[in-house]
C-alpha cells in the first residue's frame, strides 16, 4: 500500500525528468503532463485588464433609449424628455391615455435569460406613474448579467485578436466581475500586444455626406443627420470629412478579413461579409454608384473610397496606405470583432526569457544545495536513522512534483522556494520522532519499544504542528495572487506529503531494517 503510493508519486513525477522526445516515445505508459512553468520561469507577459463596466452599461442604456424611440416612431406616441442616468432611463408620455399602448411594447425589450434553476429573471424593470413618467431600470440581475456577458465577450474577442492560430498557450481568465488576467508566454515586446488590446475596434460603414462643403466642415456646420470625422491615410490625418450618422453596416456582419495586395501591389485589407451583410452591401453599392462610402474604425475614418459599381460578391478591400504591420493589425482586429468597451491595463509584468532561464537555473541550484546540506546534516546527527529520513525526503520531493503535475499546478520561482523550504521543514517530523526515540531509550525501554513509543508519542505533536502551518498556507492560497498562490500550493502539498513520508515511509524502512535483528541499543 505504502509502496504503491510512493510508486504512483514517482510515476506521475516522471515526465518532469525527461525531455520532450523521451516523453513522446513513452506515450501511453507515462502521464503526459509535466509541471507547467510560471511566467517568471519561462518568460512572458502578464497583464491585468479592467473592463470599463460603466461604458458597457451606458451602451446598453443608449440602445434601450434608441429602441424606445423606434417604438415612438412606429406607434406614433408622444414621448419626450428622454434621459439616461446610470442604469435608469426615464421619459415622459404626454398623452397618458396612450399608456396601455406603450407598456406592452416596452416589456419585450428585456433580454430574459433563464437562470440555473430555470426561473427567468427580468433584466429590466418598468415603472410608470399617472403623470405619464416612465422609468426603465436595469435590475441588479440585469447589471450582473450585462457585466458577465461583456467579460465573456472580451475574453472571446481578445482570444481571437492575440492568438488567431490558437498556438500561443496564452491564458485569459476573469477575475472579479470586471477584470481579467492575461498571460502570454514567450512575449518580448509589450507594445504590440497593448496596441491590439487598447482598441475597441468598432467597425462601421457610413455614406459620405456629399452635401456638406469643406467650408462647412471647417466651420463645424453640418446637418443634424451627419457628423464630422477624421480621415486617415495610414497613420497620418489627411482631412476632416462629413459622414452620415446612420450606420449602413457594421463589423458584426463580417465573416473574415485578411491582408492582401491590390493591382498596384499596395498592401490592403480584404474582407468578406456574411450572407446577410453581403446582400446589404450589394444593395448599398448598387444604389450609390459614384458616391463615396466611409469605413470607420472607432473614431477614425480609415478609408473613404468611391463606389465604382455594384459589388455583388459580398467581399471588398480597404485601401488606406497601410504598412504590412498595420494591415495585419487591422485585419486581425476586424476578424476578431469589437470589444464591448475599452480596456485598461491595470498591471503589467514582463519577464524576459533570459531572466526566466536564470531563475530556473538558480532554482535548481538552490534545490540541490539545500538538499545536499540537509542530507549530510541528517546523517551526521542520526546516522543510519538519518539515512532513512533522507530516503523519505527524496520520496517527498518526488511526490511533490508528482502531485503538482497531476493537479496541473504551475511552478513559479516562489513555488521552488516553497519546495526548498519544505525540504528543511520536512525532516522536522523525523526529528520529532527521532528525538523522542532517543528519550524513550534513555528512559530504559527496549529498542523496538522505544521505536514504537517514539512514533506514537510524536504523532499528535506532528499533526498539530503541521496543521497550523497548513492553515497559514491555506490563507495564502485564498488571498494571494499569481506567484504567491504558486508558493501556497507547493507549501501545502509539501506539508501533506512530508507528513506521509516522514511518518509512514521512514517507519517502514526502520521496521524492515531492524525487524529481524536482536539489538540491545538503537544506533541513534
Amino acid at each position: 500500500m505504502i509502496l504503491a503510493v510512493c510508486l504512483f508519486g514517482l510515476w506521475s513525477a516522471m515526465p518532469n525528468f525527461l525531455s520532450l522526445e523521451q516523453r513522446a516515445s513513452m506515450q501511453g505508459f507515462l502521464p503526459e503532463k509535466a509541471v507547467s512553468l510560471g511566467l517568471d520561469l519561462k518568460g512572458g507577459l502578464y497583464l491585468e485588464l479592467g473592463v470599463d463596466s460603466d461604458a458597457v452599461v451606458k451602451s446598453r442604456m443608449d440602445s434601450l433609449s434608441d429602441q424606445v424611440k423606434d417604438i415612438r416612431r412606429t406607434e406614433r406616441l408622444s414621448l419626450r424628455q428622454f434621459k439616461v442616468d446610470g442604469s435608469v432611463l426615464t421619459f415622459n408620455l404626454r398623452d397618458v391615455t396612450e399608456m396601455d399602448k406603450l407598456l406592452p411594447k416596452l416589456r419585450p425589450l428585456a433580454q430574459v435569460n433563464p437562470t440555473l434553476l430555470g426561473v427567468a429573471k427580468a433584466e429590466i424593470e418598468i415603472e410608470n406613474d399617472e403623470l405619464g413618467n416612465v422609468s426603465v431600470t436595469l435590475t441588479d440581475f440585469g447589471l450582473a448579467e450585462l457585466k458577465r456577458q461583456a467579460l465573456a465577450q472580451v475574453i472571446s474577442v481578445l482570444g481571437k485578436r492575440l492568438d488567431p492560430e490558437g498556438t500561443r498557450e496564452m491564458s485569459l481568465q476573469p477575475r472579479g466581475e470586471d477584470r481579467l488576467i492575461l498571460q502570454i508566454p514567450g512575449v518580448k515586446e509589450v507594445q504590440p500586444i497593448i496596441d491590439l488590446i487598447n482598441q475597441q475596434a468598432v467597425l462601421t460603414f457610413h455614406m459620405v455626406d456629399e452635401t456638406t462643403t469643406s467650408d462647412d466642415i471647417a466651420r463645424g456646420r453640418v446637418r443634424p443627420s451627419a457628423m464630422i470625422a477624421d480621415e486617415y491615410d495610414g497613420e497620418t490625418l489627411i482631412r476632416k470629412i462629413a459622414i452620415e450618422k446612420r450606420v449602413m453596416l457594421t463589423g458584426e456582419n463580417l465573416k473574415s478579413a485578411s491582408v492582401t495586395f491590390d493591382q498596384n501591389n499596395k498592401t490592403v485589407v480584404g474582407f468578406v461579409f456574411d450572407t446577410a451583410g453581403g446582400k446589404k452591401f450589394a444593395d448599398i453599392t448598387r444604389k450609390n454608384v459614384g458616391k463615396r462610402f466611409a469605413i470607420k474604425l472607432d473614431d477614425r475614418v480609415i478609408s473613404a473610397p468611391v463606389i465604382n459599381g455594384p459589388i455583388l460578391g459580398g467581399s471588398g478591400i480597404i485601401q488606406g496606405g497601410f504598412t504590412v504591420e498595420k494591415a495585419t493589425e487591422l485585419s486581425t482586429l476586424m476578424a476578431a470583432g469589437a470589444l464591448p468597451a475599452k480596456l485598461t491595463v491595470m498591471d503589467q509584468q514582463l519577464v524576459g526569457p533570459d531572466l526566466g532561464a536564470d531563475n530556473i537555473k538558480a532554482g535548481k541550484m538552490a534545490i540541490m544545495i539545500g538538499f545536499a546540506g540537509v542530507i549530510v546534516y541528517m546523517v551526521l546527527t542520526y546516522g543510519r536513522f538519518g539515512l532513512a529520513a533522507n530516503t523519505a525526503l527524496i520520496v517527498n520531493v518526488i511526490m511533490i512534483l508528482g502531485l503538482l503535475s497531476i493537479l496541473g499546478a504551475t511552478l513559479t520561482l516562489p513555488g521552488i522556494a516553497g519546495i526548498v523550504l519544505t525540504m528543511g521543514m520536512a525532516v522536522d517530523a523525523n526529528v520529532l520522532v527521532f528525538e523522542r526515540i532517543r528519550e524513550e531509550q534513555a528512559l530504559g525501554r527496549t529498542p523496538m519499544n522505544a521505536l514504537e513509543n517514539g512514533y506514537r508519542q510524536a504523532l499528535s505533536t506532528i499533526f498539530d504542528a503541521n496543521f497550523t502551518t497548513f492553515l497559514a498556507a491555506a490563507v495564502l492560497y485564498f488571498l494571494g495572487s499569481g506567484p504567491i498562490k504558486g508558493f501556497a500550493v507547493t507549501l501545502s502539498i509539501g506539508i501533506v506529503t512530508s507528513v506521509f513520508t516522514a511518518v509512514v515511509v521512514t517507519r517502514l524502512i526502520l521496521v524492515l531494517w531492524l525487524g529481524g535483528k536482536r539489538l540491545t541499543k538503537l544506533p541513534i
Binding site: D40, E48, G50, V190, N198, T344, M346, Q348, Q349, L350, V351, G352, D354, L355, D358, N359, A362, G363, M365, A366, I367, I369, G370, V374, Y377, L380, T381, G383, L413, P414, I416, A417, V420, L421, M423, G424, M425, D428, V431, E435, R438, S460, T461, D464, A465, T468, T469, F470, L471, A472, A473, L476, L479, G480, S481, P483, I484, F487, A488, L491
Partner: protein
Amino acid sequence: MLRLVPENTKINFLGMRMIALAVSTMLVLASIGLYVSKDLNYGIDFKGGSSVAFELTEPVDLGHIREMLGSLNLGDTSVKEFGAPEKAMVGIELQDGDEEVQNQTIELVKSTFSAEYPDIVYLSSGSIGSTVSGELKSDGILAVSLAVFFVLLYIWFRFEWQFGLGAVIALVHDVVLTIGFFAITQLEFNLSIIAALLTIVGYSLNDTVVVYDRVRENIRRYNKLTLLEVLNLSLNQTLARTLMTSITTLIALFALFFFGGEVIKGFTAAMIWGVVIGTYSSVFIASPMLLFFNVKREQMIIHSDDSQA
C-alpha cells in the same frame, strides 16, 4: 554521532524570562518606532509605479543611468544593481494620470536606454496602477490578520485559551520584528514578503505547538512539579528538536539565499530572520506567557481527551 545538545540539559529558560521580555519589548518598540519614522521601502506592488530590469555587455554605470532618468523628469526614481555588475534595475514612482501613462513611461525609459546602449537586453519590466496596488496592500494585511486569527482559534480549540493567547503574542512579536527588520535594512517590501510573513507565522507556530504539546503532556504526567518547573522541563526536552529543525530549515534557506537568484533574495532574507526570531520567540515568549496567564493544572486534566499519561 553528532549531538547538538547534551542529553538531559537543565537550562533555566524561565529564569531568563524577565530579561527576554525586556529585550523583546525594546525590540518591538524599536520596530514600531522605525516603521513610523523610516517607513518601509515598498515595492511597486504596494505603492504602484514601474520597474525595468536590464543587462548590458559592460558593467552598468549606475550614476549615468541616474542622470539619464533624471533628465526624463519622472519624479522619484531608484537605480540598483540586480545580481551582477552588468545587470541593474530601475524603479519609477507612480506617474500622475491613469494606467496608460505608466505603460508609456516604461516605453519612454526603454527607448531612452536603447538609444544609449544598443546592445541592451531587457530582463523584465512591469507597472502597477494605483487601483491594483491598493488592493494588494489591503489583501496582504487581511491575509496576515486572518492567519493569526485562525491560529488563535485552532490552538484555543486544541489546548486552552492561555495557549492560544500565548502563541498569538509570540506570532505578533515575530511579525512586528520582521517588519522592523525591513524598516531598518530598507530591503524592498513587496508581495513576496507577505508570503514570507505568513510562512514565518506558520513556522514559528510549528515550533510553539511542539513546545506546548510537551507542556500539556508534562502537566498531566508530573503533578508534583510547579508550572515553572514543568515549563523548564518541557523546553529542555524539546530543545534538541527545536535547534535541529531550525538548522535544517536554515540550511535550505541559506542555499536559497546564496544560489536562488536575485528575485527571491528579499523573501529568503525575511525567512532567515523569521526562523531565528520564531525559534527565539517560542522558547522565550510563548512559554513564559503560559506562566503569566497562569495555566491551571485542573483545566488540563478535565480536557484529557487524548491523555497519554
